[in-house]
Amino acid sequence: MNMSKSLAAVSALAVALGLAVMPAQAARTDISVGMVLEPPNLDPTGGAAAAIDEVVYANIFQGLTRFNSDGEVVPDLARSWDISEDGLTYTFHLQDGVTFHDGSAFDAEDVKFSLDRARGENSTNAQKALFAEIAEVEIVDPQTVKVTLSEPNGSFLFNMAWGDAVIVAPETADNNATNPVGTGPFKFGDWVKGDHVDLTKYADYWGEPAKLDKVTFKFISDPTAAFASVMAGDVDAFPNFPAPENLQQFEADPRFSVIVGSTEGETILAMNNKKPPLDNIKVRQAIGHAIDRQSIIDGAMFGYGTPIGTHFAPHNPAYVDLTEQSAYDPALAQELLKEAGVSELTLSLKLPPPSYARRGGEIIAAQLKEAGINTEITNLEWAQWLQEVFKDKNFDLTVISHTEPLDIGIYARDDYYFQYADPEFKKIMEELNDTTDPDKRTELLQAAQKKIADDAVNVYLFQLAKTGVANAKIEGLWENSPTQANDMTQIYWED
């Protein structure tokens, strides 16, 4: 018996094992959504993994406020609020008739518990800073909560919209990692570890009920496998599709629609601002002028991405386009290096695993070489990167995407990995925190953007695109990604 005969026999056996062909269905009410990473657990208040929010945000858990698909902050569990004149007191009026998935009622107690837990001493909330200004949370009556801040914070309602600020119940909070109980339109169904998480529609939901009965999140990390899973129909939508090289093929296929939008991911070439010769602004400016953003976008991201000139999302109304300030000019780069008195420069370039970093890093190295700067590339896995670059600050250059919304505030942090913490910039941020007037806030945000561009803290490369693929009959998917989420509440199948 030769090999091909036996293989034929085996596949014939497999056929005999039973193969169901999917019957054609009208207006399905279930969906299978592909995700690259599996969440480590399902508690958004106890870890930073984006995959947690990609499953639970808006689906299982809700906060006082939430982001809508445009990134706007809108009421959620708080139906309205009053802000005192001095900007220190927020009185939230809560929605009526809200229940947790275990049937217990939601009220002001739960809000107080959740906020106090997140800001408490033993809190393991990854975004604890969101709650830093809260001085006191008081229960006025079961439907009203008064939050007092120690100092005004114009971003407070924005902060409360994050996945890390969702409201949990005291009775179930400790088990949310494996059995999340929230107030959203979907409740947790089942989790086959390593394969999928099922959510089902919550019948007693307080708001507009979801149109789908069942949502399955499937975890597929390999780009080739992701491609095959969509082609084979195992996955109906893949909102963050990991293989941009295949998107054109999907675009040409009428069965699928390709959804390209923007994320909150500012992708930067970060520089160690305290490590000579990078402590010299001329050297940092030289590196900026040596980089051609568009060719990185074309080469590493297959053309998907928007060039940025500062650490700010271009879709934000307060964005200032400062790309010209550090435009591609290798001759100027060499001149700046000469002025700085630097020659024979060799810098370390440490790259984390995502393809924007690995592929982008290679192109950046080639561009820097053109300008006379040598680089030594080291590929690191995430945990190593966090240790060497982020914690020990043992690096010259690295490529990384900062994916949190409106995170320009990291430039004010002492001891942050790129080591900027400029007093003038910190002052702008303090002023921003004290300001609630929208126009004044925009002005300050723009001043902050200009300040870090003037100081050439990092090279701001591009805004990471959200590239998704979905069955053409699915409606209601988010185009942009104002926060890391797969909001399933508005999704339905066309007949």
Partner: protein, 316 residues
């Protein structure tokens, strides 16, 4: 035989203790902190410190080693840092995929390799022999992940007979689950079957040249009678060795195939745990695998004795 068993058992214990120390130290040395990994780059340093003490990472080295070993002796493998569920539960889930997949692949591989090897040896230097040699050469040379992708393209993307991957869980029914494991098992089995067939063939050829085979022929047995009654059983020892090695290899080594078919198996669990610095999972799974390998080697030793009476006598 009892003394032999006791000696093997002692060796097994010592191997496990040595392995536990090596595994613990190696995972301790690799750079990267589980708490920082979980909290990400926007995290508050205070919250990271709180998590470190919650996970017990601020305890001294020896204390943590002893706590881990004592826990394992009592059947408690610890709590996964990232998944926050007992490691035994995680491993249990994965074993339910990896073990059936391994057995399925091993079964396919033996079903292909035995007849192929026997036919090739019995019809030495004929067209059938050359066909087996050629096909197995190809089977060894083709990378199994590439073959797996071809299977996906043909049977999942084009014909849509199978899912491109994933595992519905045993709750979905036996046939559904086996169906999900079929393409991966074929992909895993092909190179193993090729190796096995080649070993079967050469081992059988060696035995067919032995004096006792000539004697058997001389006393009037036909060629096939000699082959089945005398040669085959004697040729099995090297084949059994290979099957034992393949079992250990397939149990955790199928990670590439698990990735292609996004199957939640043991290999992927270890890989994921390493990248997430879920050290407790890494350690416990590796110790379990060491245990499995040692145990399989032990079983293979016993199988030798069954296949070859001379070994049985020597062991006594």
């Amino acid at each position: 035989m009892t003394l032999y068993l006791l000696r093997r058992l002692l060796a097994l214990m010592l191997t496990l203790i040595a392995a536990s120390i090596v595994v613990f130290l190696v995972t301790e040395i690799i750079p990267g902190d589980p708490a920082s990994f979980m909290m990400g780059i926007n995290a508050d340093p205070q919250a990271v410190a709180a998590l470190r003490s919650e996970l017990g990472l601020d305890q001294p080295l020896v204390t943590r080693y002893l706590a881990w070993v004592i826990g394992m002796v009592q059947g408690d493998f610890g709590l996964s840092y990232t998944y926050k569920v007992p490691v035994s539960e995680l491993v249990g889930d994965r074993i339910l995929i990896s073990l059936p997949l391994t057995l399925y692949a091993l079964l396919l591989s033996t079903l292909i390799a035995f007849p192929a090897g026997v036919v090739a040896a019995a019809r030495r230097n004929t067209a059938a022999d050359f066909a087996v040699i050629g096909a197995t050469q190809l089977g060894v040379a083709i990378p199994n992940f590439w073959f797996a992708m071809l299977l996906v393209l043909a049977f999942a993307v084009n014909l849509q007979w199978f899912s491109a991957g994933g595992f519905p869980g045993w709750d979905a029914g036996f046939l559904e689950a086996m169906k999900a494991l079929t393409l991966p098992a074929i992909a895993l089995a092909l190179p193993q079957a090729s190796i096995l067939a080649r070993v079967m063939r050469s081992s059988l050829l060696d035995t067919l040249d032995e004096d006792f085979v000539r004697t058997a022929r001389a006393k009037g047995l036909t060629r096939s009678q000699t082959l089945w009654r005398h040669a085959l059983r004697n040729a099995l020892i090297p084949v059994l060795t290979i099957v034992g090695l393949q079992f250990s290899f397939l149990l955790a080594g199928g990670i590439i195939i698990e990735n292609v078919f996004y199957l939640p198996g043991l290999g992927r669990l270890v890989f994921q745990a390493i990248t997430q610095r879920d050290l407790i999972v890494v350690r416990s799974v590796i110790i379990l695998l060491v245990f499995a390998v040692v145990a399989v080697t032990f079983l293979v030793d016993i199988a030798y004795a069954v296949a070859d009476p001379r070994l049985r006598r020597r062991a006594r």
